[in-house]
Amino acid sequence: MIIAKISWQNLRQTPARTLLTILAMGIAATLAVASLVGLRSAQSSLFTYQVAQTQAIVRFSDLSQDQLHRLIKEPLLIHQRRYVTTTLHHGKDAVPAVTVTPAVLRKLGPALLSGGRLPRTASEALVTDTLLPEGTALGDWLTLTQAGKPRRVRVVGVMNRYSPSYLDPSGIIQVRHTLPEGRDTLMADLATTRDAHNRVAGMAAKAGVGPTQYQLNDDALKVMGESDKAKTRLIIVGTVAGVLAVISIAALLLIYTSINLTVRAYRTRYGLLRSLGTTPKQLRRIVLSEALMLLVPAMILGLGFGVGGMAVTLGWLNRLFADNDFAFALRLTVDWLPLVVAAGFMTAVTLIAAARPAWRASRVSPIAAIRALDASPRVSKRRLRPGFWLKRIKRPTLRLALRNYRRTDRKATMMVTLIATVALFVGLTGFTANFLRDYADLTGPDIIATAGGDRVAAAEKVLVRTGAVKQHFVAPHFGLEVRRGPLFLKGFDLSIYVVSKTLARKLKHPLPYLVDTKIQTENAQGKTVMRYTVPLDYAKPLVLRGQRNKRTVSVTPTLVPYNAQTPEALVVYEQGEAALMISQAQYATWRQKLGLSERDLQTTAAATLTNPNDHKRVAQALKANFAGITIIDAVATNQESYAMTTMMRVLMSGFVALLALVSLATIVNHTFADLMASRQSLAMMQSIGTTPNQLTAVKSLEYAFLLGQGLLYGGILGSAVSYGLTMLLFQGSSNAPAYIWPTQGLLVAATAIVAIWGGFVLATHRLLTHQNIDALIRRV
């Protein structure tokens, strides 16, 4: 009891220092809580995202009625959805026909839809894209056979065959209120993912379901640490341990410094307690009790700001994702695990950090109660001599500040902490800006759509009707093998675009011409260089061969270097494959000679939009009119990329900033403690006639020297770290982007340090104008 009482009274007596220490420890606790809650939330969000891909965690297939009924009763299986599969035929090919109830279709169908709508009646169907014959439009009828009898379904929607959903997308999906007889499949989530593999295996065995009949979403379970591979579990544990290790370094330094300062300040008191009979062990317990008492309010602060801060950050990131059509949402997950780990971690760090100061306190001699301890500071002769600046500066406050700064010991710890903090912040944020830059490709088309056959007229009509297109290039194309040609084309397929008369009028060059692109090769010295695919002085004809009858054709095209300003730049890329542009007449000749048909053609429609925000509307218009169309939405991709890199940047910068704050709190604590310790000497200065403003000026200059030096050296070191890490990252890359200097990080660091300096100046002035000079000098 007496230990707790003394500890409590010690803390109460110096409310300013106690509050400052609680705030500083609170920042460390915030960092720990925010990091752990953030990791847990990311884990939970990623799990949800992975489950959304397959739309269930487990799927049991080919079930008998008995097996189905046993599984349905299992409490571990929640959100159960059932469907029945029968087999139809399209020609000779077997086609799985999935039947679901309207409720299941409403829940699971939208994720599969890549065009059209969900079926509403029994005669309508969602059909996989590869099943549709060329030229099938939405609303057309598809004839299949079932047990030899024809069965017609109306194609109202198209789904992607390669969707990972457990609702089978490889055939057709129909809706019925009552499910027919067939092979039953049950999809479900798990009430808990703990030991998922063993539990599901046990459940399946109990229901008589074989191991090949069920499938678990391993990607989702891996995220939750439920992997049969120890490496995956190690990665998860390692990530958490790594984050905590980084936080622990900053937190240890902060708490150690704070407690150490307190022990130093209370040395006489500890000596008195020792002289009265307090054992070394009791003194250690006093110091450790004080540390733990400080931890309680710090943890409360950390919980509040950590969870609250993470909620705000995730909310902001989700808005960013939504604005950029990124189909990923971060869900704040606050359960017992991260909070308990954070509390345990902070307790351990506090006890470890306080251990040495506690030991030091226990070693205080009882004689410290009687004798003045701090002998006059040891100042070397070198420091006593006036330096370069002292000889030249006349202003008294500046001279006094310089002299004090030069002769004050115990600056080393503060300076090292300050330099390390600034270097860490500037270095890591600078590297992050270089590593996580926005690689969005703003050149090239906004939308590229590809469909089989010659669909030029239809595609142009759709694009023009949207009213959103700024420039477009629509042409059918096919591929021929280059039998004879320059080195980098020979033996490869060449894309050949058939240019209509209308399109030819927009192009700048007479047909036929080859859009010459660049490739990356090595020169004789082994250095990476860019070369034209076809040397610009190449004058020989290209000999091309078709796949059908192996006959060849010859063409001597004009070589036109790639130009980003031309319409054909929408389908050809500067560092992509070269492309040959030919007329319709030339295509007609080659078609006959090489035996080509419309099946060999694909139509590509590429467009840039007047307003990129119209990308969704244009893509939907194309999907609605062309079954089996493939669309690359570059705007959406860029937005996703931007959202992802922004998220990573925000999280990384936030983590580094909090880490820096913890270290800065150590500096603040240290400087504040020194200020309080110098109250007596300041009072003596005041007693002999120095004004508070003069003394404030002196102390302000001392702070400025310390903080300024730390900012300068830390900034230089941090810039070097950022540069070094970035060069290491892009080592060997021939097209490394330009280095981004850590100007932003330097500005933020400078602003923070100036703010701290300003705070100290204000605090010092307030102290000097309010302190009781008489009481302070009587204690001498």
Binding site: N10, P280, I370
Partner: protein
Amino acid sequence: MSILTATDLTKTYPGEEQPALDHVSLRIEAGEFVAIVGPSGSGKSTLLHMLGGVDRPTEGHVSLYDTDLGGLNETQLAIFRRRQVGLIYQFYNLMPTLTVAENITLPAELDGKKIPEAELTDLLAALGLTAKAHALPSQLSGGQQQRVAIGRALINQPAIVLADEPTGNLDQKNSQEIMELLHYANVKQGQTVIVITHDPQVAAQAQRVLTIADGRLTEANA
């Protein structure tokens, strides 16, 4: 019966050639009231600290009853001080964050003992501090603070009370009151009291006076 024996006590501080104590030997009988006098810097406080186990000698031994203080480790020495020695300083040295009552009971609480309320009330009354039981040291006068220090020194009924210039910071009236309290403890409770002083009037109140100069004890009854 000798309660305290010091043999050949020597204390030399690091960096100093002259020892602060130079082969001092003495014997204190139980119940004695002894004054140690000497000029400033003569080694009075150093001797007191050796006798109380607050500091360790460079050479020599101190025994209280039959316990050789040199053979005790830090923990044992702390417990020894808590139970057997009552220390009173010139500048009171109270715990600023504890009340009068708490300061007085501090050594007992460190020992895990609970002082009965009645005993504490009696002690406060004897010290004239009943009305100030819940006051902080900063709210007391110098004389009152020194009385608290005496109460703290006596609470565990130690074998010896060591007072280092207990009246050095007080006026005459308060000094007299403090000395009366020490005498009361000596006479009524049989407390052995050793007082360091440079005040002849204080020394005159002792049964025995030892003089120390340049680290050496003279007129010692060894």
